[in-house]
Amino acid sequence: MIFASFTALASHWSRNRLQFLALLLGLALATGLWSGVQAINAEARASYDAAAATLGEGQYDQLVTETGDRFAQSTYIALRRAGWQVSPVLEGELRTDQGLVQILGLDALTTPGGLAPVGMDGETDLLEFLTQGVLFANSETALRLDGQVTLAIVVDDNIAPGIAVTDIGAAQRLLDADNQLSRLIVARAQPFGLPSIASVAPDLVRQPAQDAGADRLTDSFHLNLTAFGFLSFAVGIFIVHGTVSLAFEQRRGMVRTLRAVGVPLRTLIGVLIAELVAFALIAGLLGIALGYVMASVLLPNVAATLQGLYGAQVAGSLQLRPEWWLSGMAIAFLGTGLAAAAALWKIAHMPLLESARPRAWAVASGQTAYRLGLAASVLLSIAVAIAIWGQGLVMGFGLLACLLLGAALALPVLLRGAVQLVERHSKSVMWQWFWADTKQQVPGLSLALMALLLATAANVGVSTMVSSFRVTFVDFLDQRLAPELYIRAQDEVQAQALETYLIANAREVLPSLSVETDIAGIPSDLFGVRVGPTYRENWLFLDQSGDVWSDVAAGRAVVVSEQLARRAGLWVDDPVTVAPGIVLPIGAVVADYGNPRGQAVMSETLFKQSFPDIQPMQFGVRSDDPAALSLALREDLGLSDAAIIDQAAIKSFSLDVFERTFTITGALNVLTLAVAAFAILMSLLTLAAMRIPQLAPVWALGLTRRRLGQLEMFRAVVLAFLTTVFAIPLGLLLAWVLLSYVNVEAFGWKLPMYIFPGHYAVLSMFAILAAVLAALWPAWNLAKTPPSLLLKVFANDR
């Protein structure tokens, strides 16, 4: 019985292959977009974790030479003998036939806990590691090393990509660097009364541990990517919901017959669920494959973006990580369940004797429109309430969900209203029929149009977000990297000579004075700045009062970062204690993206009065000819290359990285619009069969098939245009929620929002183009419908 029922239900698909394809592809595309984005996120996160665990970068202070060159092992021995808890590291590149591999030599006995090769947790013989040498690498790197080295290779996928970890001695042999080291890791806990590093190892300088700023910025990037993936999934679910509902609706008659001939309801529901599970499984696997391909194509750009923006190392190739393909399958099942739940409920509660009704008419009923409008009003009201009173990240996502769902549900009502308005003003009988007919088609196309609305809104939202991010970041770079050169002095004597030299040879000299302190109870850095044209021209404030820089220069005000202001509950004009005995009003609040520590900026003079022992060791330099000045500094003062940083080059590189970010966003935009176009195509094709009885009388009354085809095409364009008109404000609202609400709740800082009308015009054109392409085939089919098919509508025996 179960098999016979299954065969009967499944036979529907063999007669409706297009619908079958729409269902599978809709779900596969939805899963693909979600799992693709998740794959990129999972890969990037795994890479950070591996890098942190393997290299320990950012966790510990490091001792390196000024120039970054290797140094003698005897320096390390001298420091150890002096009591310093340091551990040696040797890094270098090994050329293999398959490309370069970075060799990382560690001393397993002195490396701080958590940094040793992860695989050395019991299975590997420590003696073998120390005496014969073992290379730890992830599977991809291990393949590259296979046959290239004589050492044993242990595969450990927790090792960062492109890196092989080994004992320091083995590394020295491999890299042909006997008795040489690259850096020393400084343990956090050190004995008291140690001699200074400068006295024991004068060639080495101490680099402080990095703060968590990069983590927070990358988290922001991932959160936004995840939001985009989720939106894309929502678009896909609208397609699946549409196709599943239609398929169930079309099979209502069959379901009634099956029950009438003796198939129990429970069996029927069970068979339908089994069918859905099969769909979810096939489409889920297909979607994961699609996501994998998408992520593989996009990952190199994402990797370059993350590396360039935040210095985060990400592998350029993708691994099949269980967490993302499992989440892909889960989302495929969840999506199918969500899409089919209502349809299954209807079948379970459908009176056995109720006759089947075409879906279009059911949805078209005024009652449905009223219910949709009511649900939309409730959801949008909740969204407004959250925007006003809600707090927290969960509320932020609640706001997003209510806003998007509410807007999607309101769309049919808005479209009907707009079409009705045009209908009232149309004079000719043909156009009156056309608008009345269009109004009648809205319910049938509403799910596809909702998908287009969400896709376009997501694109507008994400484009606004990324572009705002770019504008803000460029401003931020202009502000922070305004000096063409940044120069570090080795000691105070050199610093004084350098300042004198620079004042004589540069346009403007900006000494960097800073001290770590607590301001309003928040761990912060206090800066003393020499106020000049650079600060006045380049610093943009989130909020300010009066002539900020004149007040700062005169010691009458202080500039604080947004993080400090928000966490301390302070804002412009509030007084704040910045140093012992110095209370100044806040003159301005400045953005300091990604830095978890607070920042306050006061005048150089006031700073020197408060902290007379602190001398500037670093200088920002404005110069009309930075290359010549850089050369002169090397020649006249003997500065090393490492001491002079060309900030213009860094800025140019960062801007280049943003172009890559745009490539990713552009690709995701095209994909979501393609999904929406697919939704429209499928809706039009599935509705095409229902259209014949509606169009046949109009054809019989004298409208040619060609004209009918043209009108069908025009209808798609009109509806897509109206949908796009509604999508733009929705997208801007979406961007506002992401930038001003979610980002603040998640990271404590707000990204300013900029409007880009040119982008939206292009996106609207793309959305309409997608609708035109989707409508082309059904319109062509209609124009070529054989008269015999239209005549059948009037046949008595049907």
Partner: protein, 218 residues
């Protein structure tokens, strides 16, 4: 008795209060017997047929099919009864549009697990459907579709056949032809037949006729 109906009542919800449709029906049907149920539109004919088929449930009274009380059965048991003991032929044919004629004919027999290929072939031939077995229902005329529905019911060898206006959608000549074939098949198998009809011509060909008026047997 294949069918025993005692004091059955049924109402449907109305605007203000429930509208009684059946007001205490008593009826019995033996194996091999044919019965025509006639009456005005809205007299409760189809409702009684649906109650007997277990497609709906009674408000009061009892209906026993082959000695089993329908009121004591859950949905699954009533479905099992429809698979094996009762066959229903509808005015709207209710074929499965995505299955071929051959698959439609054998469908109920496959559900009840009593597939008799020889019997199916015999029925197909007797009803003149052999040239159409590979076609889908949409390619058949109304008369042919009703023959497929009859073949589907007969192939499952039910003890009781319920037919709701089986010739209502057919022209006179086709209706007569279909009825001849149905009665011939019923006679061959010894099943009982209860047919709901408006047509006096159809009713006259049954062993017995009962008339429903305002929910009561006249």
């Amino acid at each position: 008795m294949v069918l025993s109906i005692q004091n059955v009542t049924k109402s449907f919800p109305g605007a203000d209060e429930p509208v009684p449709v059946l007001r205490g029906i008593d009826l019995a049907l033996a194996s091999g017997e044919t019965l025509a149920l006639t009456g005005e539109s809205g007299s409760g004919k189809s409702t009684l047929l649906h109650l007997v088929g277990g497609l709906d449930s009674v408000d009061g009274g009892t209906i026993k099919v082959d000695g089993k009380d329908l009121a004591q059965m859950d949905d699954a048991a009533r479905a099992a009864m429809r698979r094996s003991d009762v066959g229903v032929v509808f005015q709207q044919f209710n074929l499965i549009p995505s299955l071929t004629v051959a698959a439609n004919i054998s469908f109920q027999a496959r559900l009840s697990g009593v597939v008799d290929e020889a019997r199916i072939a015999e029925l197909t031939e007797a009803l003149g459907l052999t040239p159409h077995i590979a076609k889908f229902p949409e390619a058949l005329s109304g008369g042919q579709q009703q023959r497929v529905a009859i073949a589907r019911t007969m192939a499952a060898k039910p003890k009781l056949i319920l037919a709701d206006e089986p010739t209502g959608n057919l022209d006179e000549a086709t209706a007569s032809d279909v009825l001849d074939q149905m009665l011939g098949l019923v006679a061959d198998t010894g099943a009982a037949l209860m047919i709901v009809t408006h047509s006096q011509i159809v009713a006259a060909r049954m062993d017995r006729q009962v008339h429903l008026r305002q929910g009561r047997l006249a």
